[in-house]
Amino acid sequence: MPRQLDSAKTIATFHCVTFMLGEDLFGIEIGFVREVIEYEGVTPVPMMPIFVRGIINLRGAVIPVLDLSVRFGRGPTDIRPSTCIAILSLPAMQGGYSDIGIMLDSVCTVLEIPLSDIGPAPTLGTDIRNDFIQGIATVDSRFAILLNVQNVLSVTELAGWAQAVVEQHWAGDEEQL
């Protein structure tokens, strides 16, 4: 360990939190992660995009919780004992930060991956959009997808989604009327 620390000093590393989502190993840069909490249920919010699972109350702050699996175009995440919510702090459009929770199947560890071990995002071989992926790292002979959180959780895009949903909803209502 001390040796690794020594090497980390000299070599540039990607400091990240790894977690499991489905069968895949993902990593998020640690700078965006504020904390990881246990999943204790969410309060569903109507008229939200389907990848928004609901909202939670974290020490008085209302935080939306996203389902990355849905965001990646897969089915909704199953709730397990190991399911966690990672609270991310993202830079907001108006400046400052906005907190967003994402659902993880399980949190793995905190890693410092040498940049040399990180490859570019592949063009094929995964159904996740390329702009979501920052790179592919090999951890313990296994691929870990390092997510580009700003893209994945682009607030703009999310807001657009939300708008679309609202419009669609109202449109549906009008049609029904």
């Binding site: 360990m1 620390l5 400091h15 939190v17 640690i30 700078g31 992660v33 504020r34 904390e35 990881v36 909490i37 246990e38 004992p81 190991s82 966690c84 949190v107 560890t109 905190v110």
Partner: protein, 555 residues
Amino acid sequence: MPKTLLGKVSAMAGIAILCVITIGVLGINRLDALRNSIMESSTLADQALQCVVAVDRADTHFKTQVQDWKDILIRGNDPELFAKYKEQFVVEESIVQASLNDALPLMKSIGLADGDVTRLRDAHRDLGMKYRAALNQFHLSDANAGKKVDALLRGIDRETGQEMERVTHTVTARAIELSKIERARAELSYASARDETLVLGALGAIITALISMLTIRNVQNSLGGDPAYAAHVVRQVAEGDLAVQVRVRASDHSSLLYSIKVMAFSLSETIRDVSAISESIGSASEQVSATANSLSQTASELASSVEQTSASIEELAATVGQNADNARVTENIACKSTSSATESGQAVAEMVRAMKEIASRITAINDIANKTDLLAINAAIEAARAGEHGKGFATVAVEVRKLAERSQKAAKEIGDLAAHSVGVAEQAGTLLHEMLPGIDQTATLVQEIAAASREQSVGIDQINAAVTQISQGMQSSAASSEELSATSEEMSATAMQLQEMMQRFRLKGGIHDTYAHRAEFKSPRPAKKKQARLFPTVLDDNLDEPVDDSKFTNY
């Protein structure tokens, strides 16, 4: 006319007695008349005799009076003698007077005139007067007084004396005559009575003869022959000679002899049958004896078999008793097994519960480990955000994470083990649970087996008792059959005796002869059904069939 012999004979005897009584009454009447006649005659004769006696006495005493008179005359000078002779003289005189007075009424009775006697009496009285008067002349002192007085009355008594003698003679003659007359009358009476008696006797004899003949005929008709002959026949029958030839008249169908003949025939038929039956009884009793012997033997064999069976059953009873004991022990064991299995089931259930609790506790540990892990990660994140200052803290966080992971791993292992144990324990519980009904069933079955064994034991006891009874029954049966054998032998002997007794009877020879003989009874009066009943109908059926003579060889 009465039907019975007694009636007939009684009636005839009555008639005879009537006749005899009539004859007797008539004879007595006749005798009465005869007696009256004789009495009359005898009275007459008596009177005649009295008359004769009286007259004769008067004559005699008159002569004595005269003698006394003469004595007075001769010896009357002696006063003593005088008085004596005078007294005698008076006495004699009174006797003569009395006798003549006596004779006087009798004279009329014997049919003579009493005038002579009256005259004689008067004459005698006069004579007496004359004597007394003359006696007054007699002086005692005068020696010749007698001669003087005599001279006064000489010859005075001659007429009276002669008269006296004549009357005596007349009376005597009359008496003799009367006697003759009465004798003749008696002869006549006797002849008439004799004739009447003869006639009555002859009549009685004739009636008696008729009645006797009738009686004899009746008796003969009733007996059917002479009583002696009947007695002879009866004696022969009594001696057992049933072949006796009884002579009866052809028309006779009701007499004693005919009945005896029928009886003899009937008896001979009966005895024939009895003899045949006794023979068959003899053979039957011999068969019975043989059968009884074989029965006795069989019974003895059976008794021994039954005893063997009894021994076998006792062994069986012992085996069954052992079975019952074993079943009882097994039952107890099964009961214990049931309770043990139930307890085991409870223990396993408790174990499962404990395991589940362990699992839940393990979950808590796991939770704690997870939380610790999460805390370590958050710490690592915080450390990372702290930059260079957080390096040491990051190391601690890593260590804490490692510990949490180890805790997680251990908890997981324990949880797995507990889960596995729970599964195993549940399986054991299930198996025990499945086992319970089996054990219960086994216990029930064993109980049933025990009960069945007990029932078997009871049943075998009963069988044993029954077999003992059968054995006793067999023994008594054997004894009984021996007794039966003895009895049948006795019976056989009795039948032989009976046959010997039957041989005493002499029966008519041929059997056909007998049946022909019987026809003789049947034919004359077919109208009389009573007659037909004398013979058993069975024999009538056999009348025309050939008869096995060998059956009758003994006769």
